[in-house]
């Protein structure tokens, strides 16, 4: 027995010896660890349009310009050597041509020097790749004056390469971009999108060769077909070390050849840890420097030691809303039940009836949602456009919770058949959003209480599946929120109400009247007139209600107190959690 006791004591001593010393000092001083949820979709700048992927791109690739600190109106040059303005002559007097002198002495991660031709190639590829539901319209709209590269039959428009080639020209060390029409938020777009990639590296690895003859073969490609899906060669302060799909982590390493002073942190680890309790313990132990905390878990971290909390942050984003798909894809769609209005399913065009949409909107208890689910970190919304921007309407209309009105609408829908036969379908949400689950359950409870023949199932899927199924129009009702690509009201209304907007595309929603209003508003230069135009767009959008808007919400960020340098960039893709890591360092208190 004594021998066993001795052995046990020896094991305990060995374990105790391996216990890390309490960290009065900074833990992993050269490494920043962000424990988050969800997965990266793609690292191809012309494909990626989700915040998780885009936040990685922000650190490995670079743009021509970026917002200066927390400002949304001031810019600083990155790969451009100067910020164009009318006063320095780099923006033409008619506001159509922007000229960017390209910075010299910048090299890509593989050592290739940056040349103006890379900028031209990157922008044209960004526009002409135009995958369905992707980000290409952000540059297509201002530069070519179109929102898609394909016609109504889905065929690529033949002369687009020539038009793009003519619009973007290289002369010496300068790149000039001629816009289709004056477009005031253009620099704001370039401060968020249009990452510069190396043409020679791309072509060498089987991407588009940059010629007119082949661009159509690379238009709307399959995700897997792009070399850039998981390979990176940018000029950013960090290079991709690995995207480990098995461990669900992305590791970035410092770019020591960076053209500015190299970043303070040597390694960045972005790790997906699905369980909140584990993420919280990692933060507590110093094994994560920041982590995503769902609103419902805020009380568990608010008094945590050795952390800083930045609270009530208003990100540049639209309110939480729920989108309805007007024409659902029926092929292999598990969410429609029988696919007919027979009480066991819904027909593909179920939500095209406005009374159905209003019935659901009237079944949502906005105030309870803000109070109980958002824990007060929000307020009932007044429209898509946020306070402080042109078009914001403090008196904007919104529906209120009313089971009586909801009943009226459901009774009228589909000529009374809905009320008579009932329906059954599935609402889908991304599995890492417990507050959305609560919201969906609230709707389910309220709607099912109206008529016993109304049945709603709720299902959770992971982020990439959610994206894929949304793009293929398979989700009947789903969460719609929009983090702004650039600070302009156009970017708030376009995704929701324009035929080529990201949400409208997923919803198969199209309204020519709203399309025209949005296209007209972007070219208005007079702020007062623009303000009025965007108020009107919101009014018409509210009447149509392709989405029901629920609440504006506040964000918060928690980080270890040894993290220094974080600033709240309102349009950063994954703000306020994922960062532009160049800003950060770790130092003892």
């Amino acid at each position: 027995m004594t021998r066993r006791l001795r052995a046990a004591a020896a094991i305990l001593a060995a374990i105790a010896a391996t216990r890390p010393a309490a960290f009065a000092q900074v833990k992993n001083p050269d490494t920043f660890i962000y424990a988050t949820i969800g997965e990266v979709d793609s690292l191809d700048p012309a494909w990626s349009y989700d915040s998780r992927s885009h936040h990685i791109l922000r650190n490995v690739y670079e743009l021509l310009v970026q917002f200066k600190g927390t400002s949304l109106i001031e810019f600083e040059p990155l790969l451009a050597a100067q910020i164009p303005s009318t006063s320095n002559g780099l923006i033409s007097k008619d506001g159509l041509t922007y000229t960017f002198p390209i910075r010299k002495g910048v090299v890509f991660h593989d050592g290739t020097p940056l040349v103006p031709e890379d900028v031209k190639y990157s922008f044209i590829r960004y526009m002409l790749q135009d995958r369905a539901g992707g980000p290409s319209s952000l540059l297509l709209d201002p530069i070519l004056g179109i929102n898609a590269t394909r016609d109504k039959d889905g065929k690529p428009i033949p002369d687009l390469f020539q038009r793009a080639d003519k619009a973007i020209t290289v002369a010496g060390d300068k790149v000039s971009i001629k816009l289709a029409r004056p477009y005031s938020p253009f620099l704001g777009i370039l401060a968020s999108h249009g990452e510069i990639i190396s043409k020679s590296w791309c072509v060498k690895n089987g991407c588009w060769d940059g010629t007119e003859a082949t661009w159509m073969q690379h238009n709307n490609p399959q995700k897997q077909s792009s070399y850039l899906l998981e390979h990176v060669n940018g000029t950013g302060p960090y290079a991709l070390d690995r995207w480990d799909r098995k461990n669900k982590e992305v590791v970035l390493r410092r770019n020591d050849k960076y053209w500015r002073k190299p970043p303070a942190l040597k390694t960045i680890v972005i790790r997906s840890v699905e369980e909140f309790a584990t993420r919280k313990l990692m933060l507590q132990a110093g094994d994560a420097d920041t982590t995503y905390v769902p609103i419902g878990n805020f009380p568990q971290v608010q008094d945590m030691k050795d952390v800083k909390i930045y609270d009530r942050l208003s990100k540049l984003e639209t309110p939480i809303g729920i989108a309805f798909t007007f024409k659902l894809n029926t092929i292999a769609n598990p969410y429609l039940g029988s696919g007919k209005l027979d009480g066991d399913g819904i027909p593909p065009e179920f939500f095209s009836d406005k009374d159905i949409r209003l019935g659901f909107a009237r079944s949502m208890d906005h105030e309870t949602y803000v109070k109980d689910i958002l824990r007060g970190k929000g307020s009932p919304t007044r429209g898509l456009i946020q306070k402080g921007m042109l078009g914001y309407n403090a008196d904007g209309a919104n529906v209120t919770f009313s089971p009586e009105k909801a009943t009226e609408h459901f009774k009228k829908a589909w000529g009374g058949k809905v009320w008579e036969k009932g329906f059954q379908f599935t609402m889908v949400y991304n599995d890492t959003q417990p507050n959305v689950q609560a919201m969906f359950q609230m709707i389910k409870k309220n709607v099912e209480a109206l008529n016993p023949k109304f049945k709603i199932d709720i299902r959770t899927v992971q982020w990439p599946t959610y994206l894929d199924q949304g793009h293929s129009h398979k989700l009947p009702m789903f969460l719609a929120m929009w983090s702004a690509d650039f600070p302009d009201p156009h970017n708030m209304v376009f995704p929701y109400y324009h035929t080529h907007g990201d949400w409208a595309f997923r919803q198969n929603y199209s309204n020519p009247k709203l399309d025209k209003m949005i296209e007209d508003a972007i070219v208005i230069l007079d702020p007062e007139k623009r303000d009025k135009a965007y108020r009107e767009i919101q009014r018409v959008g509210f009447e149509e209600m392709p989405q029901m808007l629920i609440a504006d919400r506040f964000r918060f960020r928690i980080e270890r107190d040894w993290v220094k340098g974080w600033i709240f960039r309102k349009v950063e893709p994954d703000a306020p959690y994922g960062d532009y890591y160049y800003d950060l360092s770790k130092e003892a208190k």
Binding site: I15, E249, T278, D287, T465
Partner: protein
């Protein structure tokens, strides 16, 4: 004995064929279009559905479809270029898993070693402790040890694994900083991904670290296995303790035990050599089931401890309607079940010679 093993081995392909037919039949409940759509992830390619249906013979009778599928899945087949031996080894094509973002076979290869490592980490102590403690509580019936075993059994049964896991994590990671979650620490993460410094010979990190003669990796990986291993052990050992106890009690009351004691044999020999050997038959049955259950049921433990194993992948695949992923993990589970049963049959024969004779 060899004949006995050979018979059992010969049964293996037949059982596997039965399992695959069953799985394949289940797939037939989906329409050809729905199954074809699983191969077409891009909405603009939905018009290619008919080509996929034809390629995989999805409208053909089920036996034809099964044969086409089997040719894909079997690790042997005709060479692609028609040259050389008529049958050659090949990588089984189980399709592409969207949840794992890699081919199903590759996903199994990469996730399974981690889970097997974790399962063995729990299973070996479960067997040792369960049999020892079950025997002890039977020998000391209604004494303190027996009451303690009952307490362990009740708490083990009733404590959900995520509660126990989080509790252990809070104490031993949150407070004491001994055992962190994940599969390895940050510095080891960097090291094992450095091809110049670490070779992945088997995918089993404990083994690979020894083959690389890197004790730092071995110790770090072991440390990361302790808490999930203890969690699995605690929730699973209870059953084994109780079964061993009741089986031992039954054996101890038999005449041959009384005779052995009357002969003057030491109690250690009576209990350890005579009674326990006979009491092990139900324990062996249970242990094979327990092993398979551990392999398939580690999902919650893997999630709580952020451990990248096959359980988490299988559940994700099911949640996301990733049919190739679900089929792959179901096939693996079925295969493990069959193999575990075969091993338990063999162990029966070792424990009880009468089974060999029969």
């Amino acid at each position: 004995m060899i004949k006995f093993f050979a018979k059992r081995l010969a049964m293996l392909p037949l059982v596997m064929a039965g399992v695959t037919i069953l799985l394949f039949t289940l797939l037939q409940f989906l329409s050809p279009e729905m199954r074809a759509a699983l191969y077409v992830k891009d909405p603009r390619q939905l018009s290619a559905l008919e080509q996929v249906i034809q390629k995989y013979h999805l409208r053909d009778p089920m036996p034809v479809q099964y044969w086409v599928w089997l040719k894909q899945v079997l690790p042997i087949g005709a060479p692609a270029d028609g040259k050389g031996f008529p049958l050659q080894f090949k990588t089984p094509d189980l399709g592409y898993s969207e949840t794992a973002k890699m081919p199903v076979f590759e996903a199994i290869q990469s996730f399974f070693p981690a889970t097997l490592e974790l399962t063995l980490m729990a299973f070996i102590p479960i067997m040792a402790f369960g049999i020892w403690f079950g025997t002890l509580s039977a020998v000391h019936k209604d004494k303190f040890v027996d009451h303690l075993s009952r307490f362990i059994a009740i708490t083990g049964y009733s404590l959900p694994s995520f509660v126990l896991g989080l509790l252990l994590l809070m104490i031993f990671y949150g407070k004491l900083q001994y055992f962190p979650p994940g599969r390895y620490s940050l510095d080891i993460d960097m090291l094992v991904h450095d091809a110049a410094k670490f070779n992945h010979y088997t995918g089993f990190l404990l083994l690979d670290s020894l083959l690389n003669r890197n004790l730092a990796v071995f110790w770090d990986v072991l440390k990361h296995l302790i808490l999930p291993g203890v969690t699995l052990m605690y929730i699973s050992v209870a059953l084994l303790v109780r079964i061993t106890r009741s089986s031992m009690l039954e054996e101890l009351s038999k005449d041959y035990v009384r005779t052995a004691r009357a002969k003057g044999l030491p109690e250690r020999v009576v209990v350890g050599k005579h009674a326990r050997r006979n009491a092990l038959i139900p324990v062996v049955t249970l242990s094979s089931l327990l092993f398979v259950r551990l392999l398939g049921g580690v999902v919650i433990t893997e999630t709580v401890f952020d451990y990248p194993g096959i359980g988490r992948w299988g559940v994700n695949a099911a949640q996301q309607l990733d049919v190739p992923g679900v089929l792959g993990s179901a096939l693996l589970s079925a295969m493990l079940f069959v193999v575990a049963n075969m091993i338990s049959d063999i162990v029966y024969a070792v424990v009880d010679p009468r089974i060999r004779v029969q």
